[in-house]
């Protein structure tokens, strides 16, 4: 067995393009998913059942099914429901954003619940309106507490984007798989792909730890 890792440089450009797609997909889905997650978390903590129940149903549905089936559903079933076929990148964004929304809603909800009732008491005693309290007391504290977990959520998402290879989006995984199949060099190519995922994801996990230590300890949140 002789491995020639030097050959991967021939495929540097397509691999880099694939990585670009993976990162772009992660960033877009993280942004959209976090907004959705925040909305879901607020809906779930609302006193109104009309808001709470659909939010709970959505979250449980998406957390309780494999991401791959969600992806397939959006790709193959949703077009039949809609009557038209969105671009595959769009479908990927939709599917992964919905999934990320379900995941981050738990993050936001935990952050929200960790804010003690004394913060509300103090706000009311100071005459802050409901909106002012939300905007200047609850949301900032929730965001601070959620940040480290959101970063780990985004690492998870970045790795999960590899699933879109299954529906033909040219992300890093899919590009790697194609090259590997066409030149019959799985060891070199797939190992390289794995290393690239790791090199991107690992610093993030360090940042998460750092943030948790520094920021949250400083604020004693």
């Amino acid at each position: 067995m002789d491995f020639n890792f030097g050959l991967i440089w021939k495929f540097a450009v397509p691999l880099a393009q694939g990585l670009g797609t993976s990162i772009l997909l992660s960033l877009i889905c993280m942004a959209l998913g976090s907004l959705l997650g925040l909305a879901l978390a607020l809906a779930r903590s609302s006193p109104s059942r009309l808001l709470r129940l659909p939010a709970v149903a959505f979250v449980e549905l998406f957390r309780g099914t494999p991401v791959l089936i969600q992806l397939f559903w959006v790709f193959f079933c949703l077009p039949l429901v809609l009557g038209f076929e969105p671009a595959s990148f769009t479908s990927g964004v939709v599917a992964l954003s919905l999934f990320t929304g379900a995941v981050t809603s738990e993050t936001f909800r935990a952050a929200l619940r960790s804010i003690g009732s004394e913060q509300r008491d103090a706000s009311v005693a100071l005459g802050l309106s409901r909106w002012t309290r939300m905007r200047y007391v609850i949301l900032p504290q929730m965001a601070l507490r959620a940040t480290p977990v959101l970063l780990s959520n985004s690492i998870t998402l970045f790795k999960e984007t590899a699933l879109v290879a299954a529906v033909g989006i040219s992300d890093l995984m899919s590009v790697g798989e194609n090259i590997s199949n066409s030149i019959g060099r799985p060891v070199e190519i797939l190992t390289t792909v794995a290393v690239v995922y790791f090199v991107i994801a690992f610093p993030f996990t360090r940042i998460v730890t750092l943030l948790e230590k520094r920021l949250l300890r400083k604020l004693a949140l």
């Binding site: 003690g116 004394e118 913060q119 008491d121 103090a122 009311v124 005693a125 100071l126 005459g127 802050l128 309106s129 002012t132 200047y136 007391v137 900032p140 504290q141 601070l144 300890r217 400083k218 604020l219 004693a220 949140l221």
Partner: protein, 261 residues
Amino acid sequence: MSNSFKSARPDPLLRIDAVYKSYAKGAPVLRGIDLEMAAGERVVVIGPSGGGKSTLLRVVMGLEQIDDGAITFAGASYVTVTGRRTRIDARVRRSIGMVFQNYTLFLHLNVVGNLILAPCKVNGESRKTATARALTLLDRFGLAEKADAYPSQLSGGQKQRVAIVRALMLDPALMLFDEVTSALDPELVAEVEQVILQLAGQNLPMIIVTHDMWFARRIASRVLFCAEGRIIEDGPPEQVLGSPRTERARDFVHRVFHIGG
């Protein structure tokens, strides 16, 4: 005749009328509280744990729904009950400030940020003037060098002093203190009590819940003994602390004095 006499008197600062309160599930916690408090008074509330002292202050602050009754501040009714709903007038409530037993500073804001949030967002004061006022007040209470500190960088005593100053930023006409020193290490109690005494010296009306009998004696112009959701004794400190009329109060005062040393 008694009617005309009543209307000739000035409105009391605070008037609590037959207030009943129970929490979601459970027995009533306040069982008919009546109280009239004049502007010059400093009312200390003592009583056994679970007697409803904190609940009473929270109700006066407008933090809780009540089952029945009404509360009036300077002639303006601000806690009322219609049907099963408690209505609270936020405008009237603004004249009342409260400091709690646990730490309630906003953890994501530094000291000045804590002080100016309500003046800026509620009263529409400019950041600049609010900050200037905050620094002046901090200086007056010996906290000037903590202006930029975050709550986590303060001692318990400093946190409570900042919480008091935060309430003072809104110029309250009545202050409520709910056991503000009982979470503190003993050596930090005095600095917080000193601040409250300073405010008492400026004739700021206040209602204080405390287990510190030394402090109660020093600061009170009137003492209430509360137990089982009722005011059982109400009188000048010498009387309620010195020679209580009821056996309950006598037992309690003796026990607390004994433990307190």
